[in-house]
């Protein structure tokens, strides 16, 4: 009954017109941005596993069979929102695709470049900085974690296993791109030049902390480096990033907003609010999901029943990609290409980086209570982002054992010194408890400060001696 059109080229033209009328994006757009064209859609001669493509193909066949008769419009229904083809079949779109969305990767588990992989090339300088910063991040995390165990820090959260996501994404961005982090992305700050001393100052909440001692450790922020201050509330930064992206667009900047969140964060209402707004406002924002398998003790099977987070992008009309988050080159390419599309086309991009949270959720967590130590160890060894990338960097002749040990001993020395200095630097003055609540302290805060100071005089033993008055 379905008659094929005479030539496949006019069929695909009609297909694209139909896609456009249905409000679907042009698929060829994405592939143009990769240096080497990756096939984005299966060729139209194959039966597509994608139900939407099948729908389009069926529609084309149906329309083509009636085009010689009168109105093709009688086959199409007109509702607010655009024309849709009708169907006499009761057909529910399946809750999932037959196959999971494939995961983009460049390096295999051993760090060997896959033969048919396409990626954005990185120079020696960038590659060496990327690898060095991944090592630095890992060492910084180790040493701060130990400091907390020793009672020198009140709290810490590591990014073990997610070094490639942290560093490679930062490397693919420009310094003008504004970052709205969750709390497991200090590597982005590190890449941009935040020093180990600056990290330590915030963790110890001393008077050199830019946050003025107001928040727990790892709640970093730096306006100089375009990294908005961390807040512990999950996913609240997502809609903020969309507003910031809109501002960049309106000001005509060659920059985008980038926001990070975890698999858990994708369940929050703010995730849905943000993606929907980003699509409607045509905001140049990258949504980077670190799907590390765990939200504290909650595995992803208790978090959602979709094929991860990548498939949610389409629900909002957002172009999306799934990438191996432990592959530094794949992360770099995905973020690089995503950024370009976001800025050039004024659109949001969703990147789901699959990874594994090797560390505990934080120093307040012992994850062996809900997962096996073997599982953690496997991910730490078999899919380690550092060792995979190191292999590739070394294969180019850009790294060596000597460089490695030089780097590690230098970082260790710097870290221990940073902690030593941060620990003995005094805390911020008491007046900083009352400043910055508003631009200028109102009368009630001025009165309260006087009352507190009076109380400190009467009961000095109730108060820490390292906060200057």
């Amino acid at each position: 009954m379905a008659q094929h059109l005479k030539s496949s080229s006019s069929r695909s033209t009609l297909l694209n017109v139909l896609r456009h009328n249905l409000g679907l994006g042009s698929p060829s757009h994405a592939s143009r941005h990769l240096r080497h064209n990756l096939p984005h859609n299966p060729p139209s001669t194959r039966v597509s596993p994608n139900p939407l493509t099948r729908l389009c193909n069926t529609m084309v066949d149906t329309l083509s069979s009636t085009s010689s008769h009168e109105d093709a419009n009688s086959q199409v229904m007109d509702f607010p929102g655009g024309k849709v083809a009708f169907t006499p079949e009761i057909h529910f779109i399946s809750e999932s695709n037959e196959q999971r969305v494939p995961c983009y990767r460049v390096l295999d588990d051993n760090g060997q470049q896959l033969t048919d992989s396409r990626f954005v090339p990185v120079s020696e300088e960038v590659a060496v900085k990327m690898y060095s910063d991944m090592v630095t991040l890992q060492m910084m995390d180790n040493i701060f974690y130990e400091a907390q165990r020793q009672g020198r820090l009140s709290f810490y959260a590591t990014a073990f296993g997610e070094e490639a996501i942290n560093i490679a994404s930062a490397a693919a961005l420009s310094p003008q791109d504004v970052i709205f982090p969750q709390y497991r992305e200090p590597g982005v700050l590190l890449w941009r030049g935040f020093t180990l001393q600056e990290f330590a100052n915030q963790c110890f909440g001393n008077k050199s902390d830019y946050g003025k001692g107001r928040q727990m450790p790892v709640h970093y922020g730096s306006n100089k480096l375009n990294y908005f201050t961390v807040s512990a509330t999950i996913a609240t930064q997502l809609p903020n990033a969309v507003g910031a992206a809109y501002s960049l667009k309106m000001d005509g900047k060659e920059a985008c907003a980038v926001t990070f969140f975890g698999d858990g964060g994708s369940s929050e209402g703010d995730f849905h609010a943000a993606l929907n707004f980003a699509a409607v406002m045509e905001a140049p924002v990258l949504f980077i999901c670190r799907n590390n398998g765990w939200a504290i003790s909650t595995p992803t099977s208790d978090q959602f029943r979709s094929d991860g987070v990548v498939v949610k992008g389409r629900a909002y009309g957002i172009r999306s990609i799934r990438v191996d988050g432990n592959d530094a080159l794949a992360m770099y390419s995905a973020v690089h290409e995503g950024r370009e599309m976001a800025i050039r086309e004024h659109r949001p991009i969703l990147i789901e980086a699959l990874t594994y949270r090797v560390g505990h959720h934080s120093t307040s967590d012992d994850s062996t209570r809900y997962r096996s130590a073997d599982e953690i160890e496997w991910w730490n060894k078999a899919r380690n982002p550092l060792s995979r990338f190191r292999t590739w960097v070394e294969s180019n002749g850009w790294w060596s054992d000597e460089a490695e040990s030089d780097l590690r001993s230098r970082i260790k020395k710097e870290m221990l010194e940073a902690i030593r200095v941060a620990e003995k630097t005094e805390k911020p003055n008491l007046n900083h408890m009352f400043s910055d609540v508003y631009d200028v302290p109102p009368l009630n805060l001025r009165e309260q400060e006087l009352l507190v100071r009076k109380c400190v005089k009467s009961h000095p033993q109730d108060y820490p001696s390292d906060v200057p008055l």
């Binding site: 609240t236 997502l238 809609p239 969309v242 507003g243 707004f277 631009d439």
Partner: protein
């Protein structure tokens, strides 16, 4: 009598404008100023036009603001300033406020509309955990002071649970934001411009009952009324009454009736609830020795409790009677029972008399 009532029903006499001695509110004004008779939504509309005109990096958005808004506050803005600056958003309050915070964090002015104060709660997390703490937690590296959230609040005669709420008390408990409530068109324009230009995030509740009902001479130029400054809108000696928004109209009627019975009432418009002007209220109560607070929101945990506790601390020995609160009842805002729920003129008058006769 009938003509008086019909006049009251059609247009509410704006408190402080026609009766008794009235303190002139401090406004900035230029030499030659023309005034125009405007209702509340038109005054707000004027303020928004001026705000967008005077700052090219300012934005107005929310549900349905494009065509002028369900209360017409945003009429003409999209046509004049373009859909990039004045636009509809998806139906999502947490998104609206979250997006506004992001815009403000980049140095813009974001004047966000929540369609009814009853629907502000999905945005409460963004307001409390993001907007209110944005400057403090960053050590003043960042701020979202350019954010202003506007929402119609209060009884409207037939609004029921979800078109009548007065949620101001929730927000007065959040250090880092300001809460402003105007009583009239002229006040609204000046207070809204101040709120928009204040370097702190502001929640601005507009008494929807007054959108059409209140008409006043409003200067056409750009003027601002200072925040955190209460105004004595009627002077008196026997008792101090404190209120805000539409309730002041009701309170003023009670003051007029009380005067006929020989009770001299001093009426104060708080205007800004957070941070609030304790000094003006304290000075008044030290003079009169009596305090009555009235608000539509339920009495338990309402903002009247904060005012009462503070004044007790500061004026205990000067008080001749307990502080009186004439407020909404502790029920969801009812439909058929609205007249029973509301703090009416007669409830206030009864309370004035019993306070004075304590």
């Amino acid at each position: 009598m009938a003509s008086l009532l019909s006049r009251f029903c059609r247009k509410v006499a704006v408190p402080g404008s026609a009766h008794g001695a009235r303190m002139v509110s401090t406004t900035t004004s230029c030499g030659s100023e023309t005034v125009k008779s405007l209702n509340l939504y038109s005054a707000i509309n004027q303020a928004l036009h001026i705000a967008l005109e005077t700052d090219p990096r300012s934005y107005v958005f929310g549900e349905d603001v494009g065509f002028g808004g369900v209360f017409r506050c945003t009429t003409g803005l999209a046509e004049r300033f373009g859909k990039n600056r004045v636009f509809n958003t998806p139906l999502c309050e947490q998104g609206i406020v979250g997006f506004g915070i992001g815009l403000a964090a980049m140095g813009n002015r974001a004047v966000v509309e929540i369609q009814f104060a009853d629907y502000i709660y999905p945005a409460f997390d963004q307001i409390v955990n993001e907007a209110a703490k944005f400057r403090y937690r960053s050590g003043n590296q960042f701020n979202c002071g350019g954010l202003t959230i506007r929402a119609p609040y209060g009884a409207v005669g037939h609004g029921g649970h979800y078109h009548s709420q007065s949620p101001e008390a929730f927000f007065c408990h959040v250090p880092g934001i300001k809460v402003v409530i105007p009583r009239s068109p002229r006040e609204a324009k000046g207070l809204l411009l101040s709120s928009i230009r204040d370097p702190n995030p502001v929640v601005f509740f507009e008494p929807k009952w007054l959108y059409r009902q209140a008409v006043e001479e409003v200067p056409e130029h750009d003027y601002m009324i200072p925040l955190s400054e209460a105004e004595v809108i009627r002077e008196g000696n026997d008792i101090t009454l404190v209120g805000w928004g539409a309730q002041l109209t009701v309170m003023e009627q009670a003051c007029l009736d009380a005067e006929k019975e020989g009770i001299s009432c001093e009426l104060i418009d708080l205007k800004t609830l957070l941070p609030w002007d304790k000094e003006t209220v304290e000075a008044s109560v030290k003079k009169t020795g009596r305090l009555l607070i009235s608000h539509e929101a339920p009495v338990t945990g309402g903002f009247g409790a904060e005012i009462s506790a503070t004044i007790l601390e500061r004026c205990f020995l000067k008080l001749e009677a307990p502080v009186s609160r004439v407020c909404g009842l502790d029920t969801p805002f009812p439909l058929v029972f609205e007249p029973f729920y509301m703090p009416t003129k007669n409830k206030i008058l009864d309370a004035i008399k019993s306070t004075v006769n304590y």
